[in-house]
Amino acid sequence: MNPGDQLETHSFQVTRADLVRYAGASGDFNPIHWSDRVASSVGLPGVVAHGMFTMALAARALDAWAGRPGKVRELGCKFTRPVVVPDDDDGVRVEVAGTVQDVTGDSVRITLQVTCGQESVLGAAKAVLAR
């Protein structure tokens, strides 16, 4: 990896079933991630993905770029826009792109662009990978 390199974009399909599964695995059962009724009552357009689920997709792309799991030293982002997941079989697609910022002796600094339907959903997303 060299500074300025664009890393291969990964595209992930996200359905309601994925959110239910993530709720169970993570222990985050906030109903805005599975109930349209509750989601609309707090002003959301519908059920939204857990921010941490979207962040996990970013981590998945990082593992792919690194070549194997366990190389992430830092990972951070802001949850700027909700990922609204419709109640159908297709769901939505979340795309994770990355750019190498700089490379030092033992680490690689990467900025991530995470989008859903052309809109950025994570702000200031960045990571450091061990080389």
């Binding site: 993570s26 707090v42 002003g43 962040m55 981590a59 593992d63 366990g70 830092e74 802001k78 949850f79």
Partner: protein, 134 residues
């Protein structure tokens, strides 16, 4: 009701140790599509432990947080090493900052996640936005 100002600077007791099992990592990896080769857990796995520490903050009646008003604003992890099966992890949360912006309380927290030997594994920084009653 705004969040009690005195919570800023407060450190909560560590959570009860969480035993990380291989099936639990597999379940989390499957739910996020992450690869698991039997060694490192997915990078965001420590949220499971950090979440328990945040729960203690949100459940404390003196702090005055209503769960349905909380939005996760920001998250960051800084790792000393990856989480592996067999780890017994505890998380200790501190409230680092408390600001008010446009009627919302912005609560900056950090949770130190340590193993059974007390060695640092990861710090999970979370910013929680507590919105005023509509």
């Amino acid at each position: 009701m705004p969040v009690d100002r005195s919570v800023a600077g407060r450190t909560f007791p560590p959570t009860a140790p969480y035993e990380v099992s291989e099936p639990k990592i597999r379940e989390f990896a499957a739910a996020t599509g992450c690869e698991y080769d039997g060694a490192a857990a997915p990078a965001t796995f420590p949220i499971v432990v950090a979440f328990a520490a945040m729960q203690a903050l949100m459940d404390d009646p003196d702090v005055g947080i209503s769960l349905h008003r909380v939005v996760h604003g920001e998250q960051r992890f800084s790792y000393t090493r990856p989480v592996v099966a067999g780890d017994r992890l505890a998380a200790q949360l501190s409230v680092d900052s408390l600001r008010q912006i446009a009627g919302a309380d912005i609560i900056g927290t950090s949770s130190q996640i340590t193993d059974a030997d007390g060695e640092h594994v990861c710090t999970a920084f979370a910013t929680l936005v507590h919105r005023e009653e509509g």
